[in-house]
Symmetry: none
Subunit: 419 residues, 2 copies
């Protein structure tokens, strides 16, 4: 290990501060409003790319926008087709999200590579760092397109997914300057891929509770999403007697509470109705239609299935009792995936080198690893976040924790080259 | 009563068929598209005036377009300044509305007057029938200009209201051939006005349920509207434990049900949560804020007040229990207007003469009577409409019900002249 050498290039504390400064700068590429809003193939996405490209160049990587909207930085060994280790995370945010969810996992490995480069340390394998275009699935009712493209698992129907304005993902990619027809060609060769590692804020309260800067992820939650359409009958809100209404919003309200009740009463199952739209949405018209989303997450496939069955039964009961038409469509589904044992062990060793306690924890959120696991072994390092808060403008990490995580990754990368 | 004489002029069934035919003819003056679209001071408004003028002349009235865009038909007694009873309704429609909302209340009293005239029956007081230019408030963000002009309550700022193209109401009236500066001069003298009666389709299902052709309106509803803002805390929907959430949508769902419960359990109170917006409205984010509207309507100010108090208490209880911030703002309020006792009694008597059951009901919608009540006593007769449907191309009444209502008005007008 060459920790001492690294410390001479970036003095103690400097790496963390550089990381925080870079993430502050990236956060300025956001729609107006509170926090960070940067959606897939948006103007803000386009505008942040030169900054990430600059980080990549500083790290000795050559940046390139790929067919699926990922910005990929490759070292010369990776470009030459040598065996390559992939790192990265997503550039996109939720609406009014924070500075760290996603972008931390782009900026941090690039900073780690830059620090190694400044120390003159050459890694004996190829590296690439990817800023995936889309992980949050906010703009399109599909997600992980970037990491699926690397894993070779993008299906044609995913490219037909439409945003709220009716633009398909394929159209958005073309308008963004990408060539979605080439997506099949950017799938990585598993035989030439050493693994995939993502650094991410925890987005939960466990590391803060343990007072640890970082944690090693054991598995990623399984997720499913549904789109529910509930149809009643519009009517004049002044002249239709209360007992003769088919108010889709009153029905939807009962469903939201029924879903919450299933979730509150089931261990190892979480979920949310995050999106809900009323039609025609006028002050004096009885709501004719409500559409809403249901998301369920569990580390255990059986628990998630039983949760789905309970939710479905509750929705059907409400719809039948209220004579509302119910249409429920599964829009997304991803099984839970396990991190590779060797990756967890190696991260543990790297934590020891960087003087960081290294406990293991489970990820309740989905990440690009869900898709990358089809390609290669995956690992994840979590970084403590303030108040466990994420998807919120107040999302925060400390410079000290950022520094600790960067040094863990530097140690990890150096270990990886050794027999 | 001279019912027998009337029947000789229009045989049983003929009046209703004439009424339906006339309304079909009037409906042809519409913008292209489904149903009837005839806005205030539009080409369609201009084009329908000769037809209504013809009906007026057939009824023995002299038609004249007034300063506010109303077409007014006056009998010679009314023109001579004798005490006058006013009837009428609005010529305008909503976009893609039906044939009966408004125009029924123009065609029907004219047909009743024509039938009386053909019987040689002379009324011992003046009558006028008004086709008000605007009641729906579709083209301009103001409404009831015609009836307010008769009541002397048009304010100068109303004439400055602009349509979607930026044309002011004043400019539209001038282009239509009216002289809006004369509006103050067309206010009627309360001392010379006997009352105002409007015939209108019910726009609700009550008469259909009762199997009655007509109903006597007791009051035009009072309305209040509120904007509710409920604030919780956004958070990652996968990593925030269920028992640590402040989900504004789950809270709002409970509120929507609490409001519905107050409304379902209170007689003579209706209402709706018609508009609801979730923020940030993303599939995987715990809703941070929900805004929604609450509208309450009642003919009885005390009932409406108690309803508001019950709703407010329920919302506060939910907000407190769920640690959500509640902000409720009253955005609109209009008192109920009561129909005159003598008008209701007289309509009841007229219904008896026309062999029609005459139950009372309140109007959940607003009408020209809201403005006319400032001038004189008001009354309203509702006519059953198919499936309670209105503001829709399928809006319909039967010829038999039209006939029944016409005969009620004929009887009413003859009674009115007697001591």
């Amino acid at each position: 290990m060459t920790n001492t050498a690294v410390y001479t290039a970036f003095s103690q504390g400097a790496l963390g501060q550089v990381l925080i400064d870079r993430l502050d700068e990236a956060a300025q590429f956001s729609e107006p409003g509170s926090g960070v809003t940067r959606l897939f193939c948006s103007q803000e996405h386009r505008d942040v790319l030169p900054l990430i490209s600059h980080w990549m160049e500083q790290a000795g990587l050559t940046p390139q926008l790929d067919a699926a909207g990922n910005l990929v930085g490759r070292c010369s060994k990776a470009q030459a087709g040598e065996k390559t280790f992939i790192m990265g995370s997503h550039q996109d945010s939720v609406i009014e999200g924070g500075k760290y969810d996603g972008m931390l996992g782009v900026a941090l490995p690039l900073l780690a590579l830059e620090a190694l480069k400044r120390e003159g340390i050459t890694l004996p394998y190829g590296v690439e760092v990817v800023a995936f275009g889309d992980e949050e699935g906010v703009r399109f009712p599909t997600t992980l397109v970037g990491s699926k493209a690397l894993a070779g698992s993008v299906t044609p129907d995913q490219l037909e997914a439409k945003d709220a304005e009716g633009t398909t993902l394929q159209e958005a990619l073309i308008a963004f300057g990408c060539t979605p027809k080439d997506i099949p060609h950017i799938a990585r060769d598993p035989a030439k891929t050493l693994g995939f590692l993502e650094v991410h804020i925890e987005q939960g309260p466990i590391l803060e509770q343990r007072n640890h800067a970082v944690g090693i992820v054991t598995a990623l939650t399984g997720i499913e999403r549904h789109r529910v359409k509930l149809s009643g009958k519009a009517g004049h809100a002044g002249t239709t007697p209360m007992d003769m209404r088919y108010d889709a919003l009153v029905g939807a309200a009962e469903m939201v509470l029924a879903i919450d009740s299933v979730l509150q009463s089931t261990d190892n199952l979480v979920g949310v109705v995050g999106k809900l739209n009323v039609h025609p949405n006028a002050v004096n018209v009885i709501p004719a239609q409500v559409t809403f989303t249901v998301e369920l997450r569990s580390p255990d496939a059986n628990i998630r299935q039983r949760g789905r069955e309970a939710v479905t039964a509750a929705l059907q009961e409400v719809a039948t009792r209220r004579s509302l038409a119910l249409d429920m469509e599964n829009t997304y589904s991803a099984d839970a995936v396990t991190c590779a044992d060797w990756m967890m062990a190696s991260l543990e060793q790297a934590c020891a080198h960087a003087d960081q306690p290294a406990e293991r924890l489970f990820s309740g959120a989905g990440h690009d690893g869900l898709a990358m696991q089809a390609l290669t072994d995956i690992g994840m390092l979590f970084v403590r976040c303030k108040d466990g808060l994420s998807h919120h403008p107040d999302e925060a990490i400390s410079a000290a924790d950022g520094e600790a995580a960067t040094r863990v990754i530097m140690a990890f990368l150096q270990q990886l080259g050794r027999p």
